[in-house]
């Protein structure tokens, strides 16, 4: 499977489920989805990466681009990820300091509510 995307709203937060591999070939689809969600005024996003099997710098760029877009509207983009193989590239690049990374979708949503 290359990349499978889905999204739903929970407690006012748009959750994006990502499954498969995010690389130079598939990342544009995720980018388009994030842009579309922001254009539809969804500025509180949680990207669930628990089923992501591969993530490279192109994927990081898409996530960073999404973060910048929501921040322009005082929004936020958090991640859900417990896989060490995926967290590694965030650590190598220092982006663990940039993204809120949570263990569960409910945990990410709860954290966002506390921020409000």
């Amino acid at each position: 499977m290359d990349l499978k995307l889905g999204h739903y709203n929970k407690d006012g937060i748009e959750v994006v489920d990502v499954e498969g591999e995010i690389d130079v070939y598939t990342a544009p689809r995720l980018r388009e989805l994030l842009i579309d969600l922001v254009n539809k005024n969804n500025y509180q996003l949680v990207v669930n990466m628990e089923k992501v099997e591969f993530l490279d710098s192109t994927g990081l760029g898409v996530l960073v681009g999404g973060l910048k877009r929501v921040r322009a509207h005082d929004g936020s983009l958090d991640l859900v990820c417990t896989q060490e193989r995926i967290l590694k590239i965030f650590r190598i690049t220092g982006l663990t300091k940039v993204f809120g990374i949570h263990e569960t979708v409910d945990g990410a949503i709860a954290a966002k509510k506390l921020e409000k």
Binding site: D23, V24, S57, L60, V64, G65, K68, G94, K97
Partner: protein, 161 residues
């Protein structure tokens, strides 16, 4: 010394194929399972960089990847034919020619630049190479007027008698 060479049309869809082949050859060469994810990611980064360079400068030229079992090291070289010295996207950090040894996971190679850069969607030039340097303990980037070669290696099991 066993060598597997793959050339592919510079299309993003083929980067995954290159990753899969490199991982399979690395496993066969005796690279530890714990390092295979790093091989996969590093090779993917190098191939993605080469594909983007070719799409910009020479879309009809194939990207080449050579994988060699050198006994105690598994070596991968990704070569492109995109001329260097052209703006954006060549992604060869200044002074990258010659030997550059990665020291494993380290400080953020430009995380601040990533966030505050002008383009919301693009990573800074050289970001992919910076990621590679965090994944392989031996990285060499050779840049000439006719293209760039990224050489990476990992320890592999010595051949048994």
């Amino acid at each position: 010394m066993a060598t597997v060479e793959v050339t592919f049309t510079p299309l993003p869809a083929h980067v995954r194929t290159a990753r899969l082949v490199a991982t399979a050859v690395a496993r066969r060469s005796g690279v530890d399972e714990a390092l295979l994810d790093e091989v996969r990611l590093a090779v993917g980064e190098a191939c993605s960089r080469a594909v983007e360079a070719h799409r910009r400068h020479c879309p009809a030229e194939p990207v080449k990847i050579e994988m060699t079992d050198q006994g105690e090291r598994f070596v991968v070289v990704v070569s492109d034919h995109a001329p260097t010295g052209t703006p954006a996207g060549d992604a060869v950090p200044p002074g990258a020619n010659g030997y550059a040894t990665g020291a494993g996971p380290g400080p953020a190679p430009g995380a601040a630049a990533v966030i505050h850069g002008a383009d919301a969607a693009a990573m800074p030039a050289g970001f992919g190479l910076a990621v590679i340097s965090g994944l392989a303990d031996d990285v060499r980037v050779s840049s000439t007027s006719s293209g760039v070669s990224v050489r990476m290696s990992w320890p592999s099991a010595a051949p048994t008698a």
